[in-house]
Symmetry: C2
Subunit: 480 residues, 2 copies
């Protein structure tokens, strides 16, 4: 295909420029979970607006979402804006809405990064780009801008009208976005034929994938409240009920070391595995070794490929993330923390009902706490939830993306689900009544949400090319 060759050549030529844009973008520490960094999140939105303007995007709107609901320290904290924009307005073309998020997870060099997390390192030897946001999700998000640039420089018309919806709160529950999508469904988004989200990863490190399912995520916080202030363990140890002691009892009752969730009633909500479904898992290219490589350890809970994939994609899991309010630094502080909040989340799958799950979880925590007979008080609550999602992997979009993948990487993609959640996927599908495609750019070992997050240069460039080819194949497809 000479059209693709021409654009792909431009993508290759523009590689240094594309990396430079990524470097500028990740330098802005847009951590949505850190209230003090909120101005940086907003700064990054304006950075994107500038880039969109330069490329000739039109009708650029910064949609304000109002103040962030509690719990917050600053009751007037503004949510970061959603960046809407449009490239092309040809009624004869299909309209594709691309979604990405410009906020990132927290990161600090003290966490163990080899380099400053908010400074892009171009590792020429390993051919990778290292920084917080490189793969999640600044790299893929800016990829869509590079798609337009490559078309422009190659002198080839974009085959679709492209809309952007870039948000700044994804890592903190996409607060306000669902409402905005509902409001814009018949306005800004009214002509959208398809939605494409590039915010997940290949299953492994070699084979490209397209993703048709996601687990949901219900995030909980259980707070134990005791003394009026932190106390000295010498003076109060042994005579005061310690919130941290109660908390570890509650946290230890949630899941065992084999990954089995101990909260009653959850297993019963999970859709049973069918024979046909079982078959699907057999074809996928994956192995225990890939999991071990991605996790950097031999600490897998299962050995068989099918067990691993099913426990990642179609069974719930419970993770304990940490404790807020307790001593958390190096050294030996002899404190009795006055108020501690345990954080844990449950990944959800068909047919779990979020509200019913939350009732089970909160009842469980309260019941375990009550049996302790502690004079402290407990408050278990849902911090945020996002539903699971499953799509049809044989529709027009997925078919176009499969052909695009084959064009760029020379292989058919695996059709996968994901263990992670992108709650907004379901919202787009329901509100815009369109198909949603998950088109990952990075690899399974990119380390999103962990230290030394990276994106391979070949995935960055290959991903941009795949986006290009996907838009063309989808534009040509007879169906919507």
């Amino acid at each position: 295909n000479p059209k693709f060759q021409k654009i792909f050549k431009k993508v290759d030529e523009l590689k240094p420029d594309f990396i430079q844009v990524l470097a500028e973008a990740v330098e802005i520490p847009a951590v949505s979970a850190d209230e003090s960094l909120r101005p940086m999140v907003i700064k990054k939105a304006h950075f994107l607006v500038d880039k969109l303007k330069q490329l000739g995007f039109e009708d650029i709107q910064l949609k304000e979402l109002g103040v962030q609901p509690p719990p917050v320290n600053d009751p007037k904290l503004q949510l970061p804006p959603v960046v809407l924009s449009r490239y092309g307005n040809d009624p004869s073309k299909k309209t594709v809405l691309v979604y990405g998020h410009y906020d990132v997870q927290p990161a600090s060099i003290e966490d163990g990064w080899d380099s400053e997390p908010f400074k892009l390192v171009v590792d020429e030897e390993k051919q990778l780009l290292k920084a917080r946001g490189s793969t999640d999700d600044t790299g893929p998000l800016t990829g869509w801008l590079h798609v337009v640039r490559a078309h422009q420089e190659a002198g080839i018309e974009l085959p679709v009208n492209l809309l952007t919806c870039f948000e700044g709160m994804e890592e903190s529950g996409s607060l306000g976005l669902e409402k905005l999508i509902g409001q814009e469904a018949d306005k800004y988004f009214k002509d959208v034929d398809a939605v494409c989200i590039s915010d997940n990863y290949w299953l492994g490190t070699k084979k490209p994938v397209l993703t048709y399912g996601l687990r949901g995520c219900n995030y909980y916080q259980v707070t134990i409240n005791g003394p009026g202030a932190d106390l000295h363990s010498g003076i109060f140890g042994g005579v005061i009920a310690e919130p941290m002691v109660d908390l570890v009892q509650v946290l230890s009752s949630l899941v065992d070391s084999k990954g089995k969730i101990l909260i009653k009633g959850i297993d019963e909500m999970v859709a049973p595995v069918t024979e046909k479904e079982m078959k699907l898992y057999e074809d996928i290219d994956f192995s225990l070794e890939e999991l071990e490589e991605a996790s950097g350890s031999k600490t897998a809970l299962y050995e068989k490929k099918e067990d691993i994939l099913m426990h990642r994609w179609r069974f719930p899991s419970l993770s304990v993330h940490g404790v807020e309010g307790a001593f958390s630094s190096q050294g030996a502080k002899t404190v009795i923390p006055a108020k501690v909040s345990g954080k844990f989340s449950i990944r959800t799958v068909p047919d779990m009902d979020s509200a019913k799950l939350t009732k089970l979880v909160i009842d469980h925590c309260n019941s375990v706490f009550e049996k302790l007979g502690s004079p402290n008080t407990i408050h278990a609550e849902l911090i945020h939830d996002g539903n699971y999602w499953v799509s049809d992997p044989f529709n027009a979009q997925f078919t176009a993306a499969a052909k695009a993948t084959k064009e760029v990487y020379g292989v058919d993609p695996d059709f996968t689900r994901e263990g992670g959640s992108i709650p907004i996927t379901l919202t787009f599908e329901e509100q815009l009544k369109t198909s949603v495609l998950l088109l990952p750019m990075g690899r399974g070992d990119d380390g999103a949400h962990s230290i030394n997050e990276k994106l391979d240069i070949s995935n960055f460039i290959g991903g941009i090319k795949t986006m290009v080819a996907y838009l063309h194949y989808y534009a040509e497809s007879p169906e919507n």
Copy 2:
């Protein structure tokens, strides 16, 4: 006593000066647990040297203790120096060594302080001094300097030779001090007749006390090591053994919510309560209400005064302080932490043997972990330990201090023990073969180690006067 009246009047007149010195001292954030603040700890040592010089102390020596042993981030990290100095060198006088520490606990306004922790707030309404270090231990430490100043301004000779031993690592295990005391026992400290430590608190808020016993403290860290880096719980939740899940199981096996230690073999090491001992507790001025007021809550584990005091002073306790390496901020980070360290400590009492206790603790942790069947690894270790201490409350020093207390406060002090540990007490007693007196300045509700640490102005001034009178009564006492 006209001599006391003259000096006490000077103390009252000099109050603004004394508060000013404290304000300057607490402004230096001398947090010994924070490696990055080590230069501040050292700066505070030099601040004290300047003050000692101004007052005419002689033979001022900054004793270097070498590099801090692992675990440290910086393998060349220097320990803060010990400040030795002498005021007076008259062989006909007794020699009193006073000990204090100029380092402080970590503090940050984000912890919930009403004001900047390293800025002294003089609350005129409540008549208190608020800052990290105000009561622990910068206030009492500088008190000794004010004792000398008051004598000078009153034109009255100090009745003893005064030696100082001010260290900068007390809040981090007094690393290096024990060795130094051993080395100086026959040198700098060779003429010492008595040691006085002002680094603890009244039992309650009204009655002055003298303290003749302390619990020890064995601080442990149990580390669970899993994946090579922090992981995304969406991608790895359910397929990887999570260190945090194992850790809460281990931490939940240590102590129950009623304060009962669950590690086998510990109860058997504790000296039984005698009838005579039981009697002692009956006389002490204390009530459940005071504990509730000091803790700012109704979360006491015992109702009876005797039970409370015995569980604070003569029974062991186990506190869970926190977790290093897990998510610890506000918000909802969906991370699987790769390596987490639980921190807990056991307060020790006669006749617990530290080494034997540590073996019990480590064996317990390993045994609980082994039963989990986790592919992760565990490492339980003692971070530091300090032995318990019990003295004779009727010796010359205690008698002098009791008379001094009566002189200043008009009441006989209660003779108490303490739940906290000042390991160096035992070292002084053993190495210098002298009696050690614990002469507290602050109150039980001062909030050492917690937010809004304070020292009542009346305790600051009353404490200085008590120090004055104690030196005179001890100087006059026939025995050593």
